[in-house]
Symmetry: D2
Subunit: 347 residues, 4 copies
Amino acid sequence: MTTRRFNSGEADLDLLYKELAERELQPLWELKGLLTKEPVVAAVPFQWRGTELRGLGERAGELVPVDRGGDRRVLACCNPGLDGAPYAVSTLWAAVQYLRGHEMAPAHRHTPAALRFITEGEGVFTVVDGDPLPMAKGDLVLTPSWTFHEHHNPGDKPMMWMDVLDLPVVAALDAVFFEEGPTEEADTSTAPASASERWFGGGPGLVPAGVGVSQRHSPLLAYRWADTDRALAAQLDVSGADSARLRYSDPVRGGDVMPTMRCEIERVKAGASTRPFRQTGGRVACVLHGTGRAQVGDRAYDIAPGDIIAIPSWSKWQLAADSELDVFSVSDAPVLDALGLFRTSEE
Amino acid sequence: MTTRRFNSGEADLDLLYKELAERELQPLWELKGLLTKEPVVAAVPFQWRGTELRGLGERAGELVPVDRGGDRRVLACCNPGLDGAPYAVSTLWAAVQYLRGHEMAPAHRHTPAALRFITEGEGVFTVVDGDPLPMAKGDLVLTPSWTFHEHHNPGDKPMMWMDVLDLPVVAALDAVFFEEGPTEEADTSTAPASASERWFGGGPGLVPAGVGVSQRHSPLLAYRWADTDRALAAQLDVSGADSARLRYSDPVRGGDVMPTMRCEIERVKAGASTRPFRQTGGRVACVLHGTGRAQVGDRAYDIAPGDIIAIPSWSKWQLAADSELDVFSVSDAPVLDALGLFRTSEE
Amino acid sequence: MTTRRFNSGEADLDLLYKELAERELQPLWELKGLLTKEPVVAAVPFQWRGTELRGLGERAGELVPVDRGGDRRVLACCNPGLDGAPYAVSTLWAAVQYLRGHEMAPAHRHTPAALRFITEGEGVFTVVDGDPLPMAKGDLVLTPSWTFHEHHNPGDKPMMWMDVLDLPVVAALDAVFFEEGPTEEADTSTAPASASERWFGGGPGLVPAGVGVSQRHSPLLAYRWADTDRALAAQLDVSGADSARLRYSDPVRGGDVMPTMRCEIERVKAGASTRPFRQTGGRVACVLHGTGRAQVGDRAYDIAPGDIIAIPSWSKWQLAADSELDVFSVSDAPVLDALGLFRTSEE
Amino acid sequence: MTTRRFNSGEADLDLLYKELAERELQPLWELKGLLTKEPVVAAVPFQWRGTELRGLGERAGELVPVDRGGDRRVLACCNPGLDGAPYAVSTLWAAVQYLRGHEMAPAHRHTPAALRFITEGEGVFTVVDGDPLPMAKGDLVLTPSWTFHEHHNPGDKPMMWMDVLDLPVVAALDAVFFEEGPTEEADTSTAPASASERWFGGGPGLVPAGVGVSQRHSPLLAYRWADTDRALAAQLDVSGADSARLRYSDPVRGGDVMPTMRCEIERVKAGASTRPFRQTGGRVACVLHGTGRAQVGDRAYDIAPGDIIAIPSWSKWQLAADSELDVFSVSDAPVLDALGLFRTSEE
């Protein structure tokens, strides 16, 4: 029996409490902290430094074969507030993955959706349902829910990138399914551009005619840095503002790239700051370019490329740039939004 | 530091593991059970018996004033698999609430949405944003997210009902907000029918003209047993089947009554059984009429009116009726569905 | 050659005009009235009197067999502004249909959607895709696009009702398809209530569980007067206003009953008036109960049961009741709304 | 009185017919051709040759000042089947507009939506709600419903392009509104790229973050040939097919660029043909590059750049390329689709 037995010091009541516990019931009036004025968030602001992640990734590369367990060489960010759970914030898994030259991580699929954001290097291919997606610095690559995916590195150089998954949400909903790929061997196909991009990435607002939409995620699986860079520059140019922010979207249906994760990227000019704001739901950010400071709740961090930062729900979030910053981030906003729970506040 | 430090017995690796733990990182290859072939569900099948709930409710009514804590006299169903958390399944709070004659539970609101299903008695009014909703056996009454609600019992007789909330989901998303009502005193207004019903409950397919939809929940806040009973009978009549199943829906926008909970009711003729099936996400059922057996996963329960049953995610769920059964249930299906995670399977 | 040849009196220009006409081109600068400050509407306000429609229907019943042409004994309302087109307003066909005792109008289907509103009598069954729908005073019966439908009158008494179709819209879009039923003989099945109603008409907000939505129209095909009457009374009661207005909706998906026609009913208390308003798109109204006046644009009509009234686009529309009025109406509002062209204005 | 009086040769019936006509009614059984097995389409296949359009445009440029009437120098394509109406097919206006150097067409707005497709030249700016959109060969420029728009040509060279409007649909729905711009003078602003493009045209799947969607049309108002060309080439490359087809879409919401018009472009390799197909609703095509043949219904046309072709509803439509063809087209498919009337058929 796991249900807690309360004690009041009153004999009649304690007898009731005993029987309640025996029947797996608890008295609401003894429970505290269930309904709080504002979210009481266990996850805390946190920073994982890019330089350290890189060093630890390299050492793991030397010491641990890619197939030692789980077929991935991944270091998971564990928010210190989450009691040991391997999650960066309560709703998002974030990690770095390290793949040496000529290594491969074979195919599998799972209901948790994943994405990869690359902060340095190039040369790895992520194959999604048979389509090889080249990965390079600044790119976003999607491996949506229940798509087979694998990674292989045909070149000599190692490569590292950030993985983000909605695993905590899918696990909290008891909806994790997993399946090994048709073979344990990785597909080693490569191509200069993915089929996904050739079908769906032709240009802004240009999609194949006569294509119906049945899947629940973007059919465009890679968003290239050259496009993103140009779009950020164009927005700065047209707005005249000190910072620009883009959302990665599904080019066929509009909306977010996947039903559980919103991807955004922000550029802040040297010397400028974003306006502090907060929103319900968690966020994980990753610095691509530049240095400056990130304010998360009441914590401030000096930031540099490769850093991963945890922004818990309803925490203040603000960026200040020393040199021009490009910061990618993932949030669970589509989940909150779908359930009528999305709130934002400017501080 | 909460992040676990793994040990491999290899010196180099253990040094890496030490540094990973110091930096709040974990090696994926040492983590087990993250991605499972099928959902590994902590919650277990469970039954809370109506007769016991009633007796314990009465004793709580005698011993505990309604305002002792949380302003509600509520006994929360605690699934034995959930390590003491006061949740019936991992995503749903279920409880019985007991209100004696001339008692009141004053107004508050919270982002977790609630609903009330009444298995016996009558006479209490739930006031939702100023609209008094009479409650009686077989009725479903909604108190959607962020609506002020209170209960008062103007008569002499006590009354008990089942509460279900999406609290575990909202808490997992760190999105709980709570606010006391404008006064600690309950509104004691009564009316033979709520304004909500007079506006939105006129008949099937009849809604006020010129009404826009901004809220995220059904504007119809009470679903009356007389209608439900007639609709179940009509479906049995037209289908010629042994059982009928209804979904409670938003009469203006269609779809579920709230973005986080699906409400259904099932009638099974005496001697008949439903087809076993399972779905991702949790369910809480409550017996209104009849006796028989409920199969939940590999457990079977003799059921009777007032029983509350926990059906964990992906567990087989089947009803067999000795006398004609009416079983109400709530699931988190709209959440799973919105996130692309809803799966069903006939066994 | 049908393209008009303009003349300017200038030789060079007239030569150009000649060549334009020869090549099926017209000079925009000579065209007038294409883009007007407000809609210039050809259809005019008009009233067809119920007493006259009844008399003419009876005479047609005596003189014309139901199968003389088109298998329907129908008198079509022809708006005098529409240059002889058999349409009540530019976007809606309205008509009365008369069926004598023991007559039948055999099955066919067509892409134009139809509905029937009954202002007197009872006894006819409209069979929609095999489901017999009894018809009686005050009922609305749908025969959506591309559903087989037929009418039969098993009793001795004749019956008459109003038909409304979106035929002008479907014809303007060159999308009329038509198919005879599997037999020229009418289906003579009857039942006290349609299967459609037993599945989908159980009560407000109660729909069959597990039912997907593929069709583009309400699965509830009959809306009964008893429900409508009660809903109107409830709305008057709750609002405290002098008039009430309901929209008939799809109980499963919300929204209008069909993608091309919005059905509404209005009750105005004796001595009261509605607020004048206008909207883009046409409307056809039919008086069910009561007497009073209808203001349509700058025309006013004394109205009585059975009257059909044409309200052209952007015309003022107002009802004033001598005795309590119940007025049903159909508009093309869903079309305008879907295309971003719906505007309303209170006068 | 416009309602037709029928004659049967039977005295009783003719008396009825006389009274029906007097009361603006018609007997359905005398009406023919209302409900046809397949669409009976008045519009006919037709071709306006680019070389002739250019020559006539130039002559109009010499003879007619831009402000002679309607503030636009436009030659409207008049389908010979439409009894003189200035429409290319029953639901679409198509025309060529000619603007000489240093001319301007001042601002106005109207509920009919318009688009411009440029088959040659460059240098004109269309200013939409204050945003100057440069126009050049192969570009698509939108002037959605109720946006102020004007054209000005700051250079020396004349320019001509195709206009397409949904005017026939809006007129059939009696929903035409028109308003002059704030001044009769054209805005002469220019910019190398529109604000619309800098906000919304950054790249495939990249949209401004935090942007809500209230308008009913794409916020991206110009689709550039360089993007379109690259996207067509990429689709040919990935599909391995002989032809490629793109739909222009709303980058924020997905779906068509406007609620009434679908824009597509097709590339057919030299020597190849598209598969013949037909759809409900009308289409207007415009040849950008290449020569070949267009089959429309039972008519075949030799086609060349600048040609405009009318494809009536439910007519076979097929392209065959001598040299590589690029053919832009506009259809009313979103209208048919929204109303449940869209059908396609491969021949």
